[in-house]
Chain length 233, copies 2
DNA sequence: TCGCTATACTGGTCTATACCAGATCGACAA
DNA sequence: TTGTCGATCTGGTATAGACCAGTATAGCGA
């Protein structure tokens, strides 16, 4: 644990505990530096982190303030499992197929693979509290994740598996969202009627080294699911 | 212009010019420090900025690499006008009403105003290349932007007006997106039939000082509009 | 009482230096 | 030939100081 993270966590905890409420000022950088017995630059680095997370707001000449409502402040993305748990629902999945197959042109282009390269397809019906909420197709390059096909994807989060098995962390995603009407065959899966509102998202995800990890297409039932996002700048 | 920004811009330009293509390594921090005649910490600060923008990727022990496809790399949000122009469409608006009225409980809560406080309502039909694409209701606190009601909102971007007139920059937004079926009265506006797919977004926006600026509800026609987003972490 | 200014805060930038930690690669030994 | 060890790259953290640039305010003078 570096000093920098220790200072950051200290402030985070004081904010979480309500000791530093929203709109209140944190101690000045010089004060914190003296309290921790470190140089001011180190304190600045720690505060930089929290500002980047949207927890603190700086003002030259004024003091550094605690931003309002820390909840949902991370402008990032989460896996389906994480997202459902955050909303207080119990997620699980029904794996409909896990196969490796040659990528068609569209998938190959999305993953930047040579045409015909092998990809792993994971098709899952995803439930929240035992109700089907989304139908998901995920494609991953087989060359990078060869053992993935044999793993248990019903309970575990795909992202957790990727991190634990391959040390890969998805950190960047480009996503598109559109509204459509539920086609008959999909409607059947959800127990809905054709023509019900649905949300279709397409996503490609990259790791810290900018490598493409997955291409995913997900159809959500529109009557139960609302996408929530936070964006900065 | 600080040295830090100059170094950042220098790298940005070299990347934009193709001199530093994707996946290539930028000079080491020590090299850059010597070339610019500054200390290494200053170079690091400049590189930090570009890493934050997603333009560069660091690896301890390895060199710092240029990330792929700078396009759409900003994980931020844009106004309708900006967004349409980015996609190559000509935006314009038909202002249907601009009024100030007492906020109902929902709007007051969203903008964190006392119940009954006055808000400005701007209702616009938004066009891309002369085709109606979205129907938007924006609420802003009247106390903060009293002169806004008299301004020309048909051509100008609301965000531009806020920045030029009040020095307010929207930097943070929380947004929800859901799919719905177009109700009959809305469908008429778009020249569509009731039951067509539609995307409903609700958004609250904050400025750099974490003050609530606007609450907006927008209904997009689902057959022409797809929301695109980039997310990090 | 009102308005200005001097001062003492705040954060913002920058230096010069030190050492730590991960990655790479060549030389040398088994 | 193969492996391993170390030199030497890289970025990561931290120091102790300096000065710049906004902001608030106490107090003084009109």
């Amino acid at each position: 644990m570096t000093v920098r993270f220790a200072i950051g966590d200290g402030l985070r905890n004081r904010i979480a505990a309500g000791e530093l409420p929203a709109q209140s000022a944190i101690p000045s950088e010089r004060e914190l530096a003296q309290q921790w017995g470190v140089s001011r630059m180190t304190v600045r680095a720690a505060i930089d982190d929290l500002v980047g997370e949207g927890l603190l707001i700086r003002h030259q000449g004024r003091k550094t303030l605690v931003a309002g409502e820390k909840i949902n402040r991370a402008a990032g993305f989460t896996s389906f499992s994480e997202e459902m748990r955050l909303r207080g629902w119990q997620p699980h999945s029904q794996v409909r197929q896990v196969t490796t197959l040659p990528a068609d042109v569209a998938i190959a282009a999305q993953l930047n693979l040579p045409p015909g390269a092998r990809v792993i397809l994971i098709e899952r019906l995803r439930f929240a509290d035992d109700e089907p909420l989304a139908h998901e197709f995920v494609y991953l390059p087989h060359s990078r994740f060869p053992e993935l096909a044999g793993m248990d994807l019903a309970q575990a989060s795909l992202y957790d598996l990727l991190e634990q098995t391959y040390g890969v962390r998805p950190v960047y995603a480009e996503e598109s969202v559109e509204a459509m009407l539920m086609p008959a065959n999909e409607a059947e899966l959800f127990g809905l009627k054709a023509g019900a509102p649905a949300l279709l998202t397409r996503r490609v995800t990259r790791d810290e080294e900018d490598n493409l990890i997955e291409a995913a297409t997900t159809l959500y039932r529109g009557d139960r699911y609302r996408m929530v996002l936070a964006r900065r700048r």
